[in-house]
Amino acid sequence: MSHHTFEIKNLTKVEARAKLTIKLEDKEVKEANLQITEASRYFEAMLRGRKYNEAASITQRICGICSVAHTIASLKSVERALKIQPSQNTIDLRKLLLIGGHLHSHLVHLYFLSLPDYLGFESILEMSSEKHELVHRALRLEKISTDIIRIIGGRPIHPVSADIGRFTDVPNKEKLETMLNKFKEMKEDAIKTAELFMSFKTPDFQSITRQCALKKVGDYPLYDGKVSTIDGFEYDPKDYKKYLKEYMKKYSTAINVRFNDERLMVGSLARFNLNHKNLTDDAKELLNSSGMKLPNHSPYMNNLAQAIEIVHFIDRGVEITEKLLSSGLKKEQIKIKPKGGVGIIAVEAPRGVLYHHYKLDKNGIIQYANIITPTEQNLDSIENDIKRIFPTIFHLPKKRITLELEKLIRAYDPCISCPTHFLEVEFI
């Protein structure tokens, strides 16, 4: 019997550090361990003893690319615990901020992390001379997405204006008009992006998992809704502990999550499968012309789902901004009386369902915190997919095997900082 190990010591173009070790016995894959080597970050422990009004600004630092989603999840959880109901204007502005965050995250993932793989370049930097127009389009889109977050949040990474029950300041008519123009300015480039990702051939590889996303009648929800599985089971986010099981693997610093002991998948593809009927017309048209069959179980299609989502989010951004322009925004003041309570909520982060759960004492001090990030929910599925795809690429040269495995992993858009509260691939 021959034992053999294949390792990628340092997975690149993923957010933070991880390593992949594949153990083989007679060419059969026994184990595929995605070892997150990022340091443990202890956010839930750090939150204990901190005050309710610090939670959002601390937890947004879990992740630099999805800080908007963490901010909003945290605020919602604190509000639930304190029984505060924000105004419709605040909710609409939060939805816009989330859209800005999703646009930024998807654009960085598609253009900076995934595109070079498909075009055969080492990085977007290497593409700058040969693919001049494409690189300029990437930078242009990324810049506008961050401008949108800046207008509402004050700055693109770790926005500061979103507050409990309100915004510290709200964009005036002129700023809303600027934002409306920015959304419109992105549209043509966004459609080209979706068409580009449609043109790439991806392996015919299916991965059957319990896909989960937020669901709400008539909506493609990011801000609220019930958690729904692809086969139609629904639950309130507050009951997450009944269905989701968190556990650790001995080789990794990341938390893994399963649904009723089944593998999960969350993110753009899951949202697509569950909510595609509520995409905007232009996004639906792109979906139809792509020939993508739904429900879809190929993790590679997550990239295309992200690209089409960009068009959808732009359209939604235009709608919400126009609504706010006609209603007008007023700065709100709010008086908060700290009290005890529990807040469990979920939002759609760019990579999927994100849960924040806090328990406050009567003085508003955090007694307990639990956060379940999207990547934690995807880790088991990524490992299982690697196990299954490896025999089909085993005959290839080592460099190609690494690239093919990285493509698969990157398709899930794992965010490694998040579950350490993620990749090096090592072939020993």
Binding site: T12, A16, E44, S67, E122, I124, L139, G154, E406, H421
Partner: protein
């Protein structure tokens, strides 16, 4: 300092952090292409498949040091780098990840076993010499660009040694104190361009304490504005940068 005759080699490394500073740097947009005219980014695992080993001319070191592996890597990175920049509040001060040092029980963050032996989370200058502090949570991309531009032009970049209030004045932002909102701007390093007060959110001191900041007077102000001593301690311990100053809260 940096050899003008050949293309400078720039490297980016990340340890314990949210990597937000990398994403802030990537928003530089066309300026990145401008940098690439005079330099080469040879190591940046977030966006590059092939990452070269040292020596490096300019190294951006993001994140705090919180494991033995990170500590060993950090020492090697210092050895390989001509000019080492501590990138962001985690690298400069310890930042949000070092709240961990103050937490009573770390086990509660994980279901079951704590996954690895963690060492005290520290700023990188506890272990190695730093040539420039690029402060902020996140950094300011324009400051990062200026530092690279200066170095490529053979100039040593100068840190801004004044407080956030100066930048609020330059922008014409109304002082938050005047609206009854207590702010840490008076004792905090500038260089961020004061985006937070501009949107009526208080400066929370992410860039850390100015060496000659009047901490005593700031504490008095915060108390006058109705902030409790306990809450001031919390404010000072958020990025841990002001934590050592909490002894002055009497």
């Amino acid at each position: 300092m940096v050899n003008l005759m050949k293309r400078s080699r720039i490297a980016f490394f990340g340890h314990t952090s949210c990597k937000g500073c990398f994403f802030e740097f990537l928003i530089l947009e066309k300026k990145i292409l401008e940098i690439l005219k005079g330099a080469e980014i040879v190591h940046f695992e977030l966006i590059k498949e092939y990452n070269e080993e040292g020596p490096f001319d300019i190294t951006f070191m993001d994140g705090a040091t919180s494991t033995k592996e990170e500590l060993e890597m950090l020492k090697k990175i210092r050895k390989d780098s001509k000019f080492l920049i501590a990138m962001g509040t985690c690298a400069c001060w310890g930042g949000i990840p070092s709240i961990k040092n103050l937490a009573k029980n770390l086990r509660v963050a994980y279901p079951g076993r704590v996954p690895q032996k963690s060492i005290e989370t520290t700023p990188i200058d506890k272990h190695v010499r730093v040539d420039y502090y690029l402060r902020g949570c996140p950094i300011n991309k324009d400051e990062a660009f200026e530092v690279i531009r200066d170095l490529l032009n053979g100039k040593i970049p100068r840190e801004k040694d004044y407080c956030v209030c100066v930048e609020c004045r330059m922008k014409g932002t109304r002082c938050l104190f005047e609206d009854g909102i207590p702010c840490m701007g008076p004792i905090t390093y500038a260089g961020c361009g004061a985006p937070c007060p501009a949107i009526r959110a208080a400066c929370d001191g992410c860039r850390g304490p100015l060496p000659d900041g009047n901490i005593g007077q700031e504490i008095k102000l915060l108390l006058d504005y109705g902030i409790s001593r306990e809450d001031i301690k919390r404010m000072f311990s958020k990025y841990v940068s002001f934590y050592k100053k909490s002894g002055e809260i009497k």
